[in-house]
Amino acid sequence: MGKSLRVAYGESLVKLGAENEKVVVLDADLAHATQTCMFKEEFPDRFFNMGIAEANLMCTAAGFANKGYIPFASTFALFGAGRAYEQIRNSICYTNANVKFGFSHSGLSVGEDGGSHQSIEDIALMREMPHMTIFVPCDPAETEKAVMAAAEINGPVYIRVARPVCDDITTSDTPFIPGKANVMKEGNDFCIISCGLMIPEALKAAKGLEKEGIHTCVVNMHTIKPIDKDIILKMNETCKAIVTLEEHSVIGGLGSAVAEVLAGHNGARFKSLGIQDKFGKSGKPDQLFEAYGLTAGHVVKACRELLNF
């Protein structure tokens, strides 16, 4: 049985904190939502609640990094990447400060809280800043690996953490190499490149397409930056069409990153599935995925259009 990525994030911080005393955690009055409360419980003297003040949260983290600590700054994705964007840019990325961002409540899967809290632009905002690394884990095991890998990287790393409980897709043995995507299923007709909570939908779509004789490859692009150009160009040569699927705006996210690699290369036809320049709204995550065109059925439909069958 799975658990939520935020719980996995909280547990991973505790594990990392036990291994490395340089790790400190800062939150903005959301420790119970982001699950950094677990770290607070275990290492109270290494936890700093900065109150509801995200801009100050980021600069404080930069202050800790300046002294050689490895700060993990946590809040909701929208208030971290959105509200504190310029603090992240000028006080962290500009100096390549060793700050890690674990932002929860990303994407439509926030659900009932609605559009004001559903961050569908955080990857776009974080991706265009030099020095930034971005991980979008798909399950609890991958979340733990992302946290551990982030601590090994010298520089800013964003880990996009989703709120819902999700099933285990990978195992503790599945490799996690930053910048190197995992092929979860082979296939040479059609390729779905996805990340995070959309991976199960991608696998479901692939299963359905196989029944119709379309050999479908599923790529888990757990690192959005630096993006795995090699696998994208390889799929561009071996498959007839590529679709990206993400719980984020089609402007600036995974789809854009893949399109940037494909630009200038002949090869597969391409379509980006994600949130089509709209805000989210209240509802259950599954209902929202359906309403915004992010389910397996929509992937199959896109495949039919691209391959004309």
Partner: protein, 266 residues
């Protein structure tokens, strides 16, 4: 040290730098000279031979646009050659338009985006406390900068975490780009505000190195310190003093000659 003479030398260097690059910020650079002199010549424990010394005191020039004043002092005490000053804002120079700790020896933190320096300094002071370090962190703020909400987020946190290793110094020249603070966005009683936020507050003449030094050395326990330094924007150049238009204006040849004469430095 003859402070008056040194201040004139530094102001001459600032004017030369700004004249050479035909850009930059004269008014605010000239107003904080004595504040930085008190810090670097009298108070801070730093070692230009060893810029990264772990237990050194730190300065965050939160009003980063005033960096020519800081660069002049850093060169004067030997962080880098005086000749480097001529490169201010030029391509291939380490002296950026706003302070960059990844390029310039002696710069402790990047600044330039107003408000962030106050918050960064607070974070650095909190990290120092957490690590059991005994050094101090100083931040020089502009008055217009105090219109940024982040300054007050940082102030709240500084008091909350009882950061008595942190000092905010205000370069209170009362002018900003569009006019006076009062016209643009009045600060009200800025000392009472910092007092209400939990700071130990002091007020000094901002061009009196002795007075500033005394305030900086006054011990405070269990709370951060705020020193309001009453200054004159464009200090030391008659036609720039108290003129908000000199916040960020290039100096022409005639103005430069006149300004240099007023420094009486050969």
């Amino acid at each position: 040290m003859q402070y008056d003479l040194k201040a004139k030398e530094l102001r001459a260097e600032i004017l030369k730098m700004l004249f050479a690059c035909q850009s930059g910020h004269p008014g605010g650079s000239l107003s904080c000279v004595e504040m930085l002199m008190a810090l670097y010549y009298e108070v801070m424990d730093v070692d230009p031979e060893n810029p990264d010394k772990q237990d050194r005191d730190r300065l965050v020039l939160s009003k980063g646009h005033a960096c020519p004043a800081l660069y002049a002092i850093l060169a004067d005490i030997g962080y880098f050659p005086m000749e480097d000053l001529a490169g201010l804002r030029q391509i291939d120079s380490h002296l950026q338009g706003h302070p960059d700790c990844t390029k310039t020896p002696g710069i402790d933190m990047n600044t330039g985006s107003l408000g962030q320096g106050a918050s960064l300094a607070m974070g650095m002071a909190l990290a120092a406390k957490h690590g059991g370090e005994s050094y101090n962190v100083y931040a020089v703020l502009g008055d217009g900068e105090c219109q940024e909400g982040l300054v007050w987020e940082a102030a709240m946190a500084a008091a909350h975490y009882k950061l008595d290793n942190l000092t905010f110094m205000l370069d209170y020249n009362r002018l900003q780009i569009d006019g006076s603070n009062e016209e643009v966005m009045g600060l009200g009683d800025i000392i009472k505000k910092f007092d209400a936020f939990g700071f130990e507050c002091m007020e000094v003449e901002g061009h009196d190195v002795v007075a500033i030094t005394k305030a900086l050395k006054t011990p405070v326990s269990g709370k951060p310190k705020f020193i309001c330094c009453k200054t004159i924007k464009g200090k030391g150049v008659s036609f720039m003093e108290n003129q908000y238009g000199w916040h960020g204006r290039a100096i022409n040849a005639e103005e430069f000659d006149q300004a240099m004469k007023e420094q009486e430095v050969v």
